[in-house]
């Protein structure tokens, strides 16, 4: 009896602390939500902060705005937060009708994980999904080639071994990622670290700033994003792409799965195949690109998903192979606004 009492005395404080700690994520999410307005997009440095992303999605869902989801093309890698596609659409609509829920660097396999795990609150809402052909432009991008140790957003990938040939982490890495995804307390701790402490533990921070006062650490850092310089049009030369055709493409399979996931949640979905720079393709690659677009169009149309394919006709509208510059986004927004399917979609009220 005495020994049971000792065990109780040791375990009780631990259980109490764990209960208190697990309540923290529910108590403090309000700190972040104040900023989710206008042309807000998940900051570049917080791209892997999925706890923050989920809070943002909840806010978008409750506001009834049209969510625009996708990778860096939707996010606006070469522009500020007021010059990307969503910002331009909002400017032409005159209201904050659209919400930029894109994430820089996300690819379809990770996008599926994002939608599956963090976008449940978007059910029954209108969603515009961006499709970037870049992810099918080579077996490496498609993740169907050899093992790649630097895959973006690996925390969002399926952790079942063998599903993604290029993704081959250790069992321990898979378990760590799963724990961070499934245990809210860990996700919240990661969020606090990423959003307040520049993704560093206090230990690493003290090493980098040995003479700074620890109080500075608690103050966090202001987010600032400087878009990179675009490739100059005169340097854009035609290249041969090692395209992976949709029938064989892993990324396309995940894109289809993502769209179907949204549909099963009652979302109205429209797909936008974002422009792929034809000024950087050889004639052969350009034809292959057009073929892929027509296959995508057919497949999605068969699923009842409207598809829009904006086109940019000048090299200076592009920043690189797949990203437009601010002017390119304006043209895209204009083309979308003039598109009947888009007008019907945005004019719908659920």
């Amino acid at each position: 009896m005495v020994t049971m009492k000792n065990l109780f005395k040791i375990t009780m404080p631990v259980i109490l602390v764990m209960i208190l700690a697990s309540l923290l994520p529910g108590i403090f999410p309000c700190v972040d939500t104040a900023q989710f307005k206008g042309n807000y997009r998940i900051p570049y440095s917080q791209g892997e902060n999925y706890f923050l992303y989920e809070k943002y999605i909840n806010r978008v869902a409750s506001s009834g705005r049209i969510a625009v989801i996708g990778d860096s093309v939707i996010w606006g890698h070469y522009t500020g937060s007021d010059d990307n596609l969503v910002a331009t659409l909002n400017a032409s609509a005159g209201t904050d009708r659209f919400a930029n829920i894109g994430i820089d660097g996300i690819h379809p396999a990770a996008l599926y994980g994002l939608i599956d795990n963090y976008c449940a609150s978007l059910s029954n809402r209108r969603v515009i999904i961006g499709i970037n052909l870049l992810w099918m432009s080579s077996p490496r991008h498609d993740l169907s080639g050899g093992v790649n140790t630097s895959i973006n957003h690996s925390a969002l990938l399926s952790q079942v071994p063998g599903r993604i040939p290029a993704y081959s982490p250790s069992v321990e890495e898979r378990l760590t990622l799963l724990a961070r995804r499934k245990i809210t307390l860990f996700a919240w701790i990661d969020h606090i670290r990423a959003s307040r402490f520049a993704d560093r533990s206090v230990y690493r921070w003290t090493m980098a700033n040995p003479r700074a006062c620890p109080g500075e650490y608690l103050a966090g850092q202001e987010e600032s994003y400087t878009p990179p310089d675009p490739v100059q049009p005169d340097r854009m030369t035609g290249r041969d792409m090692d395209w992976v055709m949709p029938a064989d493409s892993l990324q396309w399979m995940y894109m289809i799965k993502s769209i179907r996931k949204l549909k099963t949640r009652g979302n109205d979905v429209i797909a936008v195949i974002t422009p792929f720079n034809r000024f950087m393709l050889t004639e052969k690659s350009r034809l292959e690109r057009d073929m892929i677009i027509s296959v995508i169009r057919e497949t999605l149309s068969a699923d009842g998903i409207p598809v829009i394919v904006p086109e940019l006709d000048k090299a200076e509208y592009y920043a690189d192979l797949s990203h437009p510059v601010a002017e390119g986004y304006s043209i895209m927004a204009m083309q979308l606004a003039e598109n009947t399917l888009f007008a019907e979609f945005t004019g719908q009220h659920k």
Partner: protein, 457 residues
């Protein structure tokens, strides 16, 4: 599979549940043996054959000794087998490097190729556990274990296989025979020890490692104060790293109702280098004391031979730690210091030095010896020490938090030594300590997992 990983968490949970379901010491023994082999195979499945070979060879040697008497040639078979296995896996590269160095110095222009062998995890530990049993039997300290399975479990018991403690058969085999399962007290103690161990490793050792690695990575670049702080950082890093592992191992074993021996007793409170070795890595020190120092003659054959025996034992201890000249040098220094302190002890003047001064002096000496242990090579170690005594100016790059933590650790050592922390033995105090440590771990730990220093030996 490191203790502080999710993989181990799942492994432990499954094993613990099965262990609680299964009744009877024999069935529990089989289960834990099977689990131990899986645990070891996780690093490299092929090395499972190596540990099975060591177990079977030493089991057979003791069987032969029982049958034909405790004869030296039979004992030699086990010793030679152990030396050959260790020599091949651990020292072949060192030997090749040394031969090539001699060839180069002689200008022969030839070189032997360096074998690229992956060192099996914990090889020095389980070979010493097994060889210790053979020695114990040879000297009549223990009975022969009749069951191969019980013996295999003793050698491969997963909490201690990677970095000890190097427990003796007389302590462990009777526990495995009973395998009574944990009492509530065992579980409480196990939880406390495991949490303390993981806290020591992740919150303390890994922090000190950040600074120590930076300084030892390029000692020539830093000023005196940084070098001194770097040496201190490593002093605390290695203590918390190794004692953290031991705590975790003892905690896990305790949760299965098994008591592993204590391996550390506030080593930085020692009053001399001899006492340091009675407090640091106690299981290894007693192994070398019983099976090397004493058979060499110990202190029975005059002062000169005693010094020779001490230095030989410490040299071998250095070599056990690693196949490199800096480890040999580290062992030699400890041997010389140990002999000198014995000689100095004969003068009455040493008795007048206050105990606190002896403790501080010994601590400083130990810090300097760690420089040889941590440096990439002997030249780096001398550069490091010369750098400290160059008294070069410069504001240290050491974080204030780390310096404060060092001071707190040292102060806690003093308080614990003088029994001011006895209240921490109360279950409620331990409960709050565990809760505080868990909280720190949650916020400080990163997703990056670092290995233990001693697991590479």
């Amino acid at each position: 599979m490191l203790f502080q990983t999710w993989t181990f968490f799942i492994f432990f949970t499954l094993l613990y549940l099965l262990f609680r379901i299964i009744r009877g010491p024999e069935a529990r023994g089989y289960l834990v043996l099977f689990a131990s082999l899986i645990f070891y195979a996780w690093w490299n499945p092929w090395y499972i054959f190596l540990i099975l070979w060591i177990i079977t060879a030493d089991y057979t040697v003791v069987f032969l000794m029982e049958r034909y008497g405790r004869r030296r040639p039979i004992l030699a078979v086990s010793v030679i087998n152990s030396i050959l296995v260790l020599g091949f896996f651990k020292y072949a590269g060192f030997l090749a490097d040394s031969i090539n160095y001699l060839f180069a110095a002689a200008g022969t222009g030839t070189a032997v190729s360096r074998p690229e062998i992956i060192l099996p995890a914990g090889i020095s530990f389980y070979i010493f556990i097994s060889l210790g049993y053979v020695f114990d039997y040879y000297y009549g300290n223990t009975e022969r274990e009749k069951s191969w399975f019980s013996y295999a479990l003793f050698v491969s018991f997963f909490p201690q296989i990677i970095a000890g403690p190097i427990c003796r058969a007389s302590m462990m085999l009777p526990q495995f025979k009973l395998f009574r399962g944990p009492s509530a007290d065992d579980t409480a103690e196990g939880i406390y020890l495991f949490t303390r161990g993981i806290f020591r490793k992740i919150v303390l050792a890994d922090y000190f490692a950040l600074y120590a690695d930076r300084i030892f990575g390029n000692p020539a670049q830093f000023a005196s104060a940084d070098l001194a702080l770097g040496a201190l950082a490593f002093t605390w890093q290695i203590y918390f790293d190794f004692s953290g592992y031991t705590d975790m191992a003892r905690g896990i074993a305790r949760m299965f109702g098994i008591d592993l021996m204590e391996n550390f007793r506030l080593p930085y409170m020692a009053c001399g280098t001899r006492e340091f070795w009675q407090r640091w890595h106690i299981s290894l020190s007693s192994w070398f004391g019983d099976f090397v120092y004493k058979p060499l003659g110990g202190n029975r054959s005059g002062r000169l031979k005693e010094s020779r025996n001490i230095i030989t034992t410490m040299l071998l201890s250095g070599l056990w730690h690693g196949a490199a000249w800096n480890f040999l040098l580290w062992g030699l220094i400890h041997g010389i210091l140990h002999s000198m302190s014995k000689a100095a002890g004969r003068f009455s003047i040493t008795g007048r030095v206050p105990v606190f001064a002896k403790r501080i002096f010994t601590f400083i000496i130990v810090v300097f010896t760690w420089i040889f242990f941590r440096s990439e090579n002997a030249a780096d170690a001398f550069t490091f020490i010369t750098g400290i005594f160059s008294f070069s100016a410069g504001v240290p790059a050491a974080p204030l938090l780390m310096i404060m933590l060092m001071v707190v650790c040292y102060a806690l050592h003093w308080l614990a030594e003088y029994r001011w922390l006895r209240f921490m033995e109360r279950p409620t105090a331990r409960g709050f300590a565990v809760a505080a440590m868990v909280l720190c771990l949650l916020f400080v730990s990163s997703s990056r997992v670092s290995g233990f220093i001693y697991q590479q030996f």
